[in-house]
Every structure is written in structure tokens, then in C-alpha cells.
Amino acid sequence: MRQTRHIFMKDVRYLRYQIVLVCVLALGLIWGATPGPRQLIGSSGPIEILLIAAANFMIARLIHAEAIPGDRQFWVTRPYRWKSLLMAKLGFIAVFVHAPVLLAHLFIVMLNGFPLWPNIPGLIWSQVLIIAFVSLPVAALASMTRGLVQFVIAGMTVIAVVYGAFYLLPGARATLGPIDWVRNAIAFLALLAIALFALYWQYKTRRTTLSRIVAISALGIGALVYLSVPWPLAFAVQAGLSKEPFDTSSLQVSLEPLIRPWVGPGGVRALEIMLPVTVRGIPPNLDLRADGISVSLRSTTGRTLQWHFYEPATDSRTESEAKMLLLRNVTPISSAEYDVLQQGPFTVQVALFLTAFGKPRAQTIALQQHAVNVMGGLQCFEAASNRQGDVLCRSAFRWPSSLIDARVMGSTASSFTQFISYSPFPATLSLHPVETRWASAYTATKPLEVREVTISIKEPTAHVRRDFEITGVKVREHTGAKQVYRGGRKTF
């Protein structure tokens, strides 16, 4: 402990100017995020970038003060205990990187009028995410490099490889929509494990070559796992976590698929899939949302084509106790796929992933320019740029996983529900702890001074998968006239 403290104090002296810089930038983060609602949208972006750069630079210099690789460092023949050295470094990161950011988050949340206690889990979890995704990987990378030049080159290489894979690998950019958090949890665990192993192994054995090989291999394997997590598996994880307060077997789901390939201008080929879905047997006060569809066409010759759509474009209405969803997606296809589609008939398999939302709550507030606390950890206010009907709501550390609507008196409801995440964790990875979203609730009929907004929230309560198989489906080319084959109908 004494040695840990001694090394820690030496590093404080060594990095005193960087410490001041990080603290000043953390203050800047507070300043950029608190003066008023208008400041909350993107104004602290440059400060966040500077803070990330300054903190990472400081972590790299901290680790390189007692660099691990190499055979010329003065400290390797001095009576350092590896555990003391590692603890001193981690302690420094905790005190001079995480504590300033945590305090900045705390002040931002409090100064913006969010209640403190309900946001403590978010406050802590946001630090856990920064540890796993930023500070520990940066420390681990620094521990495997000799100095700043090597660190920057290695860091740029990692970033280039990640971005290269992101743009070049098929499907790498596709997200799993509201259940993307399952993949992110894998990335979280993989990065945390790799960083912890690299730090432990480097400080204990100083066998850098082995550490580098293990870290690169594990990163590659982790990336492959991340990219290959199938939607059904992620959805099964999500469904396993939901409490399902009603018997989902009572839901009757039917659909009539319309599948038509067509050739657009310039010979671009595409496939349009339309799935009118009817759901009956929905308990009262429950709403449904389609999170994804998986469609597979299998020809009699055994050729199979598959598509997965997450968060498909949806129109919904309710008619005599039945929920009607019209799911539609258009996807570009290759010439080969187009040719296969001419071969019918097909067996069409559809997997439909639905989420039920319940426990509705609503609260009406006077729409003002300053934020007003409403239920569910939300604050809502009027958009300064457009007083005719835009509503802004914000929440601390993450946007809720609920369906949230804003209805200004007399207008139709406008939804905040795009891009929600069903993640069970109380924060997302961000230096800015407040997430703000916009909904248009335009009404031309009401004067501004009497405007009120009703915020309604429905929470996800169940995640349901339904599978369909329809045989003998023929798919024909769309030639301008409506030549579509309407597949068979099946109800489960």
C-alpha cells in the first residue's frame, strides 16, 4: 500500500499539468451542459472530444512513465512490486479521469433539475461503461507499447481496422435495433476481459509479445462474435429477460405476405416485402410493435434466400379488437438473387418478432421553455426554435426503453419511439449524461399561451416470436402493372 501511494504521488507530480487540463475540461463539460435547455443539444461536443483526447493522452503517459515493453527502463531493476505499480496506475485513472467525469455528470444531472437518487445507478453504470470501453482498453494498449509514438500508431491502426471492418464487411453496419444492446454487452465483456488480461499479464510477466498476440486474437474473435450474433438469439435473450405479465400464447397472429422483385431505373434490382399482420387476443391497454422480421425463401431446387429487417417501416391501426400492422421493407438484391427469385414456387418462412408494451401512464404539463420533470425520469420543454409545436424531452444517462408519445392539446400524438433500446442497463456510453429527443406535436389551432402537452409512456412487457411457413408461393417480376402473387394465409 505504501509503495502504491508513493508511485501514485510521483505520477501526480509528473502529470500535474494534464490533471489540471482534464479537470478544466470536466468543468467545461458542466458549463456546456447546464446553462439552459438550448445548450443541451450538441453544444458540449468539442469539449467532449477534447476531454476524451486529454484523458487518453494522460492515461498513455501515466502507463509509459513505467513502460512495460523494452529493456532500458530504469524501474525494471528497482524493487517495484507489480501489484503496487498496477494499483497505483489504476488508482490514478480512477481519481483523475473517472472522478472528474463522475462529478461532472453529477453536477450536470443536479443542475438540470433531475432527481439525484433515481439516477445514481446511471451515474455509476456510465462510469463502468467508460472504464470498459475507454480507460482500461487505452491503459492496456499503452501497457503493450513503448512510448507515445508507438501508442498513437497502434491506436490509429486499431481505429482504422475497426472502421475498415465497419465499412467493408457485409452486415457490419446493420444494427440489431432495440436489442443491439445484446451485441454491445458482448463487446463490453470482450473488451473488459481483454483489457484486464493484458494489464494483468503485462504487469505480472512483462511478456509483451504474448500479450499482443493474445489481445489481437481475442479482439478478432470478439469482433467475429459481435458481427455474427443472430437476431433470433439476441431476441431470445431479450425475451428471457422479460417478465411477460400475460400469457403470450393467447395472441393470434396472422399475415399475408406480398413479395415482389422489381427492376428499377438503371437496372437496379430490389425486393419489396410487405407483410400485413393482424394480431388478435391482445389484452386491454397493451400495444404492439414489430421489432424485426426474418424472411426466408426456399425454392424447390433447394436454393434459399434470406433477409432480416430490424425496425421495419410500420403503419399500425386498431380495428375491432385487432391490431393491424403493415410491415414493409425494400432491399436491394443482386442479379443472382433476382434470377433465383424467378425460379418459384417457394416455401416462405417468416419469423416475426413483436414486443408488447403495457402499464400505460400519462401526465399533462404546461409546455414551457424551461424543462419540467415528468414521470419516468423525463423532463420536457418547448423547443425554442419552433414554438408552433415541437416538444423536446430529455432523460439522464439514457433514453427510456418505453414507447413515449407527446400530444399537444388537440393534435395527434407524436412519437419519441424511434431507436429505442430495450437494454436493461441504466446508462449508455456517452460523456454527455443527458439525452434529448424531439417530437413534433404541431397544431395550428391552439394559441401558444394555452398549450399543454400530454406525455404518455408504455413500458415493454413481453417479447414474442411467431414463426410462419407458407408453401407454394410464386414470385413474379413486377413490370409496372400489379403482377404480384399473394401468398397463402396462415393463422397461428
Binding site: 507530480r13 509528473y14 532500458r72 525494471v76
Partner: protein, 301 residues
């Protein structure tokens, strides 16, 4: 007397290059061992293996009775290591560097440090990065002498230093000679000669010999044999193996005897040349011995 340092069949290979080839040696406690050899001989590699900075490809070494691969915190409290190319924390001032290291060593002698700092004329408030090479070596040496190590390992401590600084360093070392075992690698044969008790010669990764200084000095002699003018000397193929670089010109034969013994050497001479007119035997400096060995490329042991 127990051994402060041993190496057994030590071998180190860097990809295709062999840096050390089955090196075995023993250094008794309390001795001053000088490891000499040309550039690239493997001296620094050997020291780094002994200090657990590098690992050996095969073989093993012990340092103060501990396997060098297992040297840990307690062991480094008893070992001092100073190298010409060691990276120092350049941002630290001399006084802060010494204050910082003090906490790591229970036996740190503050009074002694103050004395040596004064003796070495070290600028306490100057950052290490702003010191000359000689000053940095002095600071490194002070930081090791301060805790009175049982073993002091110095890798090329005198290389490129001006004579005054060398003198200071040697004085500092002489202060602790006897109570501390010293292992010094150096090109500077004159300095090594002045205080080494044992010497080893490493060439292309092979330890040519390792022995006491007195033994080395006594067994190497420059011999000049003047023959009777009547006898003509031709280069002979059967020179004794212990004769290095034999040369002959008219009636004079010169060579370096590597296992000098008056009786045996005279016997060899008379066996080869019969009655000779005169035999001159001259002692050799360490420098002359190593130049002879290096140029002959022969194993001298």
C-alpha cells in the same frame, strides 16, 4: 567464499543471431569482475539476463543465490544496476529522483547520499533530462550506492566519459570495493585493470576465459628469443598451442606465451630451437593481452 553470481551453459538467441553461446562462469562474492570484449560480443545481453531484463534461451544463472529469472522485489534491494543506455525519468530533478528511490530501499543511507552528491558535484535541482551523460551516470551510480547493494552491476559505465568523471566514478566504486561484489562490463581496459580482481573475455558470444586478474597477468608474457646467428629460423608448423601470434625474422622469434611458467616455457624454447642466445620475457598490460587475443582470434584459455 560463496559465489555472488554464477552462469551455467547460458545461451541466448535472437531469431537467427546467437548472442551468447553456452556461457558458464562463476564470480566469487566480494570480487570485482571485469567483463571485456569487443562491440557486439554479448556483454550487455549477458548482463540483461543476469538482471532478469531478458530471459535466456537456455541455461540458467543465479544472482546472490537466486535464479536470475526469479529475481524479485527483495532481491533488487540487494542489487544495483547501472547501464550507459538506461532510460531515466528525465522530468525528475536529481534530488527528487533520489528522494523517490529512497522509499523503495530500507537500507537507504541518506547521509552517504548527501556526501556522494557533494563529492560528485551533482546539481540537485536540475532535471535528469538536462544533465550531461557523465552526470547521469554519476546520478545512477549514487542511486545504487545509496542502499549499499551486495552486488553492483555496471554496463559500460565509463564509455565516452571524460577522464575527470571517470576518476570520480572509480573513486566512488573503490569506496565500496570489498563489501560489494562488482560486475563491470567495459571497453576501458586501463580502468578495469586498475581495480578488477577477476576478468572475463567474451567474444562473439563465447566466453574465452574467466579468471583472476593476477593469474591472467602472470600467465601472459611477451617473449622474444634471440637465436644463434648461425641457425636460420623458419616458421615452424609445430609451435606450441600456448604460443600466440608467433613471428620470426632472421635470428629473432617473438610470441605471446599464454601459459607462462619460466621452467616450462624455457624448456619449450630449447626443445624447438636448441641453444638460444638470449630470451627476453616481458609482462603485458591488460590492453596488450586483449589486443593479442582479439587479433589472434584464438581461444586463449
Amino acid at each position: 567464499m560463496s559465489d555472488a553470481l554464477t552462469a551455467t551453459d547460458l545461451r541466448k538467441q535472437f531469431r537467427n543471431a546467437v548472442a551468447l553461446e553456452h556461457v558458464s562462469l562463476t564470480i566469487p562474492a566480494g570480487s570485482v569482475f571485469g567483463l571485456v570484449g569487443p562491440n557486439g560480443a554479448g556483454k550487455t545481453t549477458m548482463i540483461k539476463i543476469l538482471m532478469n531484463i531478458l530471459s535466456a534461451t537456455s541455461g540458467e544463472a543465479t544472482v546472490l543465490g537466486v535464479n536470475s529469472a526469479n529475481l524479485g522485489q527483495d532481491d533488487y534491494c540487494r542489487i544495483g544496476y547501472v547501464s550507459e543506455n538506461q532510460d531515466m525519468p528525465d522530468w525528475m530533478t536529481v534530488s527528487y529522483f533520489l528522494r523517490y528511490l529512497k522509499e523503495f530501499y530500507p537500507s537507504w543511507d541518506e547521509k552517504y547520499v548527501a556526501e556522494v552528491v557533494r563529492q560528485f558535484d551533482l546539481p540537485a535541482g536540475r532535471e535528469l533530462g538536462h544533465l550531461s551523460r557523465g552526470m547521469r551516470m554519476k546520478v545512477a551510480l549514487v542511486s545504487c550506492l545509496a542502499y549499499r547493494p551486495r552486488l553492483l552491476v555496471l554496463d559500460e559505465p565509463f564509455s565516452g566519459l571524460d577522464p575527470l568523471v571517470r576518476e570520480d566514478l572509480i573513486e566512488g566504486l573503490l569506496d565500496i570495493a570489498g563489501e560489494t561484489t562488482m560486475f563491470i562490463s567495459s571497453h576501458d581496459l586501463a580502468e578495469i585493470e586498475s581495480f578488477a580482481s577477476h576478468i572475463g573475455y567474451l567474444d562473439r558470444g563465447i566466453l574465452q576465459f574467466s579468471e583472476e586478474m593476477t593469474s591472467l597477468s602472470s600467465r601472459f608474457r611477451e617473449v622474444e628469443v634471440t637465436l644463434d646467428p648461425a641457425s636460420v629460423v623458419a616458421a615452424r608448423a609445430d609451435w606450441p598451442a600456448s604460443w600466440m601470434r608467433p613471428e620470426s625474422s632472421s635470428a629473432v622469434v617473438r610470441f605471446v606465451e599464454t601459459r607462462f611458467d619460466p621452467e616450462r616455457t624455457n624448456g619449450e624454447i630449447r626443445r624447438l630451437f636448441g641453444d638460444v642466445k638470449h630470451i627476453a620475457v616481458n609482462p603485458m598490460s591488460l590492453r596488450a593481452i586483449f589486443i593479442t587475443i582479439a587479433r589472434s582470434g584464438l581461444k586463449a584459455a
